[in-house]
Symmetry: C2
Subunit: 355 residues, 2 copies
């Protein structure tokens, strides 16, 4: 078991990483709160696999557990579902002294975290991530929220968890495609902060620890993304989010769309920021290793991607701020990426070969 | 024109009070933000009266204004409406660099403030309250949110405005009943903090200033209601909210339900905290003067009121915390009010005569 602390000034918290910790969720939560009632929010897939184990662990510590299970998938990540979870909690008698556990992948964590942020104007909560992307990225850092019809994550709050419990064993039940997609965020972390990680992708527990350390370090320094630091975590995400939206939610998994975004942002880094092409090749090889998509099919229109991307929150006013790499591990926010560059990068994604 | 500062440590802001300030909203907002796009959120009633004036004033200062008009009334104060306003703003191209103006009464202020709290994880906003209750109370202090099906204000955020502009002239167009209901909160402020205000209810502008000063002072000391101080503002609200919900939203105006809650809490103060009965009579006289309801009709069931009240956020766990008065101006949070006391207080409300 390893513990990484997210060193926020106001409310630092631990990310606990280790095998079989799912059975100890109750202990970790009880150490942080005297709450009596607890909502366990999960989705249909994850609840079937791990819901009872986590529920039992919470009950063992005296929590009165209300289980709220939402349909699995990105389509749950919307305001109507937030509203339904809140109403279920009101009916279940949870109040401002209650707490919440988010058990699942990125969708559950983002949605349930947002519910915790706004229920009675905010109740404390725990993240129990069960996918690669949630364990290495989205469960840490306090960004919570849902999608608007025209753009991802446009509605939400900053709300940090009390504690995060990541059990690598939970990743064993992921279908291959869902397992692989998580590596897009791992490769992103490697690209912006830790190039040597590209040679150490196999051993899961230390890999999760390493990724959480990278994320925790950045979040502790720039909790609300007011500096240019936290923005570096958006490497690959501007074009990635545009593709994800233009393709229609459900076609690409989040990490698959981010893979395409990483390819585009890496090429732009070569063109505009002097990233050595052997560094770019290392990123491409890693993506390829996890069978992540690297070419854009013709039926996803460039105009749709651009339109979706313009709704994206990485744009402030009319200025396009875009994360580039000078070298592996050396990322920065550039003001020198224009709409025409992005257009060309999207078109370049259509050629299957990598130049 | 008078300015009251809400002296929060992190982000203090001004409440500007004066006649004809509706035409100067743009100036006050421009002094606080360089934003280009601005959502003007109002309801059908208020927009018809003042929407264009405020819009013009914003445009004069270079804001690109997106008008979003919601149906007037408490039924708009729900998540579905929050979602619709957010989607309209996404379609209108507003992003994290945009701002928002809430023009209207308590419903618009609470709802639009909540939209500002969660849009792109929070954008800055201005309150332009146009009812008595909004000017003397709800526009100041940063509580934003909407109702759940089973309880008022259960979903929301703390999100302080950049500036509040209150124009007493706007109150001239209020129907008498809507004007009167606002005095429930004025009488509450007088009861907990400023008994002499009960003898100076006529002159609107200084009255608003005085009420904002009381609210600002309390909020500045206890922004997140973590001490027992801000909780004092709930005097009359526990039973009032229960009655409002049990009666069905729309039957009582908010202030009318609070009037009934004030009568009950005042009587409980006489019984349990030694409030002199002549002090109680002063509160009753003031409520009577504004034609506010003081007796509960037989068709609103006590069981429904109790059920609604148990969903209310003034209850923490199983402990009932209830605001009482020892004397006019001397309020405190009591742990000595039991369910049986509340039951009796509700039953006592059914007798028209005041004892």
């Amino acid at each position: 078991m390893k513990v990484v602390n997210v060193g926020l000034t106001r409310a630092p918290y631990d990310v606990v990483i280790g095998n079989d910790l799912l059975d100890r969720c109750g202990e970790f939560l009880r150490a942080e709160t005297g709450a009596q009632k607890c909502a366990l929010v999960s989705d249909t897939n994850v609840y079937d696999l791990y819901g009872e184990r986590v529920s039992r662990s919470l009950e063992k510590e005296g929590f009165d557990v209300l289980e709220v299970v939402i349909p699995a998938g990105e389509t749950s990540k919307q305001m109507a579902c937030v509203s339904e979870v809140c109403e279920a909690m009101v009916r279940g008698g949870l109040d401002r002294s209650s707490t919440l556990v988010a058990l699942g992948g990125g969708v559950v964590g983002d949605l349930a975290g947002f519910v915790a942020a706004i229920y009675y104007r905010g109740i404390p909560f725990m993240q129990v991530p069960t996918t690669v992307v949630a364990q290495v990225d989205s469960s840490v850092g306090g960004k919570t929220g849902v999608n608007a019809q025209l753009g991802k994550n446009l509605i939400g709050s900053f709300h940090q968890p009390l504690v995060v419990v990541a059990d690598p064993q939970a990743l064993k039940t992921l279908p291959e495609r869902e397992f692989n997609e998580g590596f897009a965020e791992v490769i992103k972390h490697a690209a912006i902060r830790a190039p040597d990680m590209l040679d150490a992708l196999d051993d899961l527990e230390p890999l999760i620890v390493r990724n959480v350390e990278i994320k925790a370090d950045i979040v502790a320094q720039d909790e609300y993304e007011t500096l240019d630091l936290r923005a570096l975590l958006n490497f690959g995400h501007t074009i990635g989010h545009g593709i994800e939206a233009a393709a229609g939610y459900g076609r690409y998994l989040h990490g698959e769309a981010i893979s395409l975004g990483l390819v585009a942002a890496t090429r732009l880094s070569v063109e505009k920021a002097g990233l050595p092409s052997q560094d770019a090749q290392k990123i491409f090889s890693a993506l390829r290793r996890y069978n992540l998509p690297m070419a854009l099919p013709p039926d996803i229109a460039t105009a749709d991607i651009l339109a979706a991307l313009q709704k994206d929150k990485k744009f402030a006013g009319r200025t396009i701020r875009f994360v580039l790499l000078r070298a592996l591990g050396d990322a920065f926010v550039s003001d020198n990426v224009h709409e025409s560059d992005i257009l060309r990068a999207i078109e370049d994604l259509r050629s299957n070969g990598l130049h």
